[in-house]
């Protein structure tokens, strides 16, 4: 039973509808080229010294691609791990794990962005 307004809005009681599912797909599709870029980026710097890495990250396109990769991947990671937690962890631990999931992915993102910008703009 749904009111006409409810049907138009198409959102469930949580008021977010299929947003989680949709963003998982959006980031998944974005991850295809971005992860391929990351793999090539890593392969190009196997055994490299810092000067070579910094020289690469100084290129705006490389820095932008790295930042985009981390944002998309970490977002995808958080959504995916949230589903795993919601499936397997119950009670108070669930809240703790969901908080841990948020802090972990955001902390990694901040750290990665700092490192990329530091190398890109720094010495």
């Amino acid at each position: 039973m749904k009111t006409p307004l409810g049907m138009v809005r198409g959102l469930g009681s949580a008021k977010t509808g299929t947003e989680h599912w949709w963003l998982q797909r959006v980031t998944a599709i974005a991850n295809i080229p971005l992860v391929l870029f990351l793999v090539i980026f890593i392969l190009c710097h196997l055994g490299a010294d810092r000067a070579a890495l910094v020289a690469s990250v100084k290129h705006p396109l490389i820095a932008i691609a790295l930042i985009a990769s981390f944002l998309s991947i970490l977002w995808h990671m958080r959504l995916g791990m949230q589903v795993v937690i919601e499936d397997y962890v119950h009670g108070g631990w669930r809240i703790a794990c969901l908080l841990g999931n948020a802090f972990f992915t955001i902390a990694l993102g901040v750290a990665a962005l700092y490192a990329i910008l530091s190398m890109s703009f720094g010495a």
Binding site: A28, V39, R50, L74, A115
Partner: protein, 134 residues
């Protein structure tokens, strides 16, 4: 919200009851590889942070990643990444409403497994051929 129901109500079939099937194992492996990648990316961030710190610290980090045990872990990480991406492509295909025929599902599960192993070896052999070392 979280009260426990102790009355004996019938359960729907669940994991421990089903006979393991390839498609089911692939679904579980998709989650396991996703979780492994989730924690594995920490090493990538560490690598970038090392680059932001100093030449000496970055050289030390590169040496750690060059250790044989690290390479074995990295090999596993490569496989998990490729397997998870191929699995993701299957899911994206299913999202379009295609590929649900049982024979197709079974074929894609096998192809996913075989391709993930083939591509992982191809990547590492390619690196070896280009660099002359791993």
């Amino acid at each position: 919200m979280a009260e426990t129901h102790t009355d004996k109500r019938p359960l729907s079939p669940h994991l421990q009851i089903y006979r393991p099937m390839l498609t089911m194992m692939m679904s579980i492996v998709h989650r396991i590889t996703g979780s492994a990648l989730y924690f594995g990316i920490v090493f990538f961030v560490w690598w970038l942070i090392a680059g932001a710190i100093s030449a000496e610290y970055f050289a030390m980090t590169q040496a750690v990643f060059g250790f044989w045990l690290s390479k074995i872990i990295l090999f596993g990480f490569t496989w998990a990444l490729i397997h998870h991406m191929l699995g993701g492509l299957r899911h994206l295909l299913w999202d379009t409403g295609h590929g649900f025929k049982l024979s197709t599902v079974e074929f894609m599960a096998r192809a996913n497994l075989v391709l993930s192993i083939v591509l992982t070896f191809a990547l590492w052999i390619g690196v070896y051929l280009v660099r002359g070392t791993l």
